[in-house]
């Protein structure tokens, strides 16, 4: 089956919606669309950032996941206390492979889990004393930590603990920044609100710490926002910026530190990779410090070159020349990679269902390899993300917001892509269906994928997955003649 045309895609959406009861069907219909590049705004065709329908198996996370796992976790010298019952902290520990340079447990704390381990008595009598004690313990055991954040789990909001008061009191005692983050899981509809709350917490408690004390910096200071250094992504991006003559003063938040956050106001330009999770603070810095911000995309040589030139256009000729030099330096290596992998991947179809930026950002990288994105969707995107997405995708591409397990499986079964890129929750379902799969949240234990170095890894990984001989051995020999009815029943 080739690419879907518009009618086929619309018919497929109708077919998938058939199984839902009337009310759920009406709701889900608003979240599925067929791409039309002519649209100015996605708002009329797709609804996003709405509460999931109960019972449909959404793949979303919660506000705590967005705050602790997304934004705060990767800062290496900040100890994130998961304040509440033990599970939330334990299951969000280190799964995203946010790399950092440092020694775990001495000056870096990404791999460690700190939790106040709430018990019944804490719910009944309140957990503020426990939090104060925990902060003292953390301070005595890990004196090289530079700051502490208190990530509240659901019960904290329910019982009404005053973590702000404890944080203020303890911060004065130990002389370190302590940030209370009100990211109770029940807030909002997805992890997206957790990103927003974290951004607001950074705005209120951290970013103005050095106001008036910062030196002017160089005219080439930039900050990388929204790069979580998954498998070393931020490092692969940073070296390109430095090579073209820019001075990266901060990484938010992969391999970042509290000092870097505090130094960000001296940046001359904020570079925003993950728009969804960091645009709030970028907008705040634009208002308060007059720092312009710019979205860029470091997936695939075409988009990297475009982005480098766009970044350079905000600076003088020295940086512009630097950008051209960097592009020229890496282009031969990129051409070699494309020459090697494009013949093996040409014309393969990809379906994506990831978080906040990859369904649109990776499109360029796939197209560099001759692959086509036939379906894309986000777990927790908002309307402005879809506005940006419809421009990147081809006409008649399937777009699905907050897709359910059933919808994803059915789309994949019907569209028959050669590769599915999604998260860990979907991975094994698609493996069992015999569809090549890459985990696009944390790169399937690989990476980096950003930057020129990352593209080499990206191309290799996609080839390794799509052309893996195991997919042809998926059916046992005795099952092969009965393939047709089997596939239907499965």
């Amino acid at each position: 089956m080739g690419l879907l045309n518009r009618e086929e895609a619309e018919a497929l959406i109708q077919e998938v919606l058939e199984v839902y009861p009337e009310k759920a069907k009406k709701d889900r219909a608003k979240h599925l669309m067929v791409n039309d590049k002519k649209l100015e705004s996605a708002k009329k065709c797709i609804t996003s950032n709405r509460k999931s329908v109960p019972g449909v198996m959404t793949q979303r996370g919660c506000a705590y996941a967005g705050a602790k796992g997304g934004v705060w976790g990767p800062f290496k010298d900040i100890i994130d206390i998961s304040h509440g019952p033990i599970g939330c902290g334990q299951y969000s520990r280190g799964g995203r492979r946010n790399y950092y340079s440092g020694i775990a447990g001495v000056d870096s704390f990404c791999d460690l889990m700190f939790s106040s381990d709430f018990q019944e008595k804490d719910i009944v009598f309140g957990g503020d004393k426990k939090l104060a004690k925990l902060i003292d313990e953390v301070e005595s055991l890990f004196p090289l930590s530079k700051a502490i954040s208190v990530q509240s789990e659901c019960p904290i909001g329910l019982i009404g603990d005053d973590i702000e008061a404890v944080s203020k009191k303890k911060a004065a005692e130990i002389g370190k920044t302590i940030v209370p983050v009100r990211c109770e899981g029940f807030r909002g509809v997805s992890q997206s609100l957790g990103h927003h709350i974290s951004n607001d917490a950074i705005r209120d408690w951290v970013i103005s710490n050095r106001d008036g004390k910062l030196d002017a910096g160089t005219p080439y200071d930039v900050a990388i926002l929204g790069d979580y250094n998954i498998g070393g992504d931020a490092w692969a991006s940073r070296i390109l910026l430095e090579e073209m003559g820019l001075n990266v003063v901060a990484q938010w938040s992969g391999d970042g530190t509290i000092a870097e956050i505090e130094n960000t106001p001296k940046a001359k330009l904020n570079l925003l990779h993950c728009y969804r999770s960091m645009n709030y603070i970028a907008r705040h810095m634009e208002e308060k410090y007059g720092i312009p911000w710019l979205e860029y995309n470091f997936f695939g040589p075409t988009k990297i070159a475009e982005s480098l030139r766009e970044i350079a256009s905000h600076f003088d000729d020295k940086i512009k020349e630097g950008a051209e030099r960097v592009i020229a330096k890496y282009q031969p290596a990129m051409d070699a990679i494309i020459a090697k992998y494009k013949p093996r991947l040409q014309g393969k179809k990809v379906m994506l269902y990831v978080g906040g930026l990859r369904p649109r950002h990776t499109v360029g990288a796939y197209e560099d390899l001759g692959m086509e994105v036939v379906g894309a969707g986000y777990e927790f995107a908002h309307n402005d993300d879809y506005d940006r997405t419809i421009k990147e995708l081809k006409d008649a591409t399937l777009i699905y917001d907050d897709a359910t397990g059933y919808e994803l499986e059915e789309f994949v079964r019907q569209v028959k892509p050669d590769l599915v890129g999604s998260g860990i929750k979907e991975k094994y379902a698609f493996h069992k269906m015999g569809v090549p799969f890459r985990q696009m949240h944390s790169w399937d234990y690989s990476g980096p994928y950003h930057g020129y170095d990352g593209f080499a890894v990206f191309a290799r990984d996609m080839d390794m997955t799509v052309n893996n001989p195991c997919w042809s051995m998926f059916k046992a020999p005795w099952q092969k003649p009965a393939e047709e009815p089997e596939a239907k029943a499965a």
Binding site: K43, N49, H196, R283, E286, N383, D384
Partner: protein
């Protein structure tokens, strides 16, 4: 009433409301002089909001409270 942020885009003012993720161009603003700025603002998507008329902000972007008069949210 909601907090909005007004910034300068390529083609005039841009309206942004974080809470609703509305980012749209401002096609008309009732008062746009240094002394008196604000009033009724019309968005590209048809929404109409009201900002208490005030002296124009010294620098954009600028956060301000706005009231929705009409249109989609």
């Amino acid at each position: 009433m909601a907090n909005i942020m007004i910034r300068k885009g390529d083609k005039g003012y841009v309206f942004y409301m974080p809470k609703r993720d509305i980012e749209d161009s401002i096609v008309a603003m009732e008062f746009d002089t240094p002394e008196k700025w604000g009033g009724e603002i019309k968005l590209g998507n048809g929404g109409i909001y009201f900002i208490e008329p005030q002296a124009a902000p010294a620098r954009l972007p600028y956060s301000v409270r706005a009231k929705r008069i009409d249109g989609v949210e």
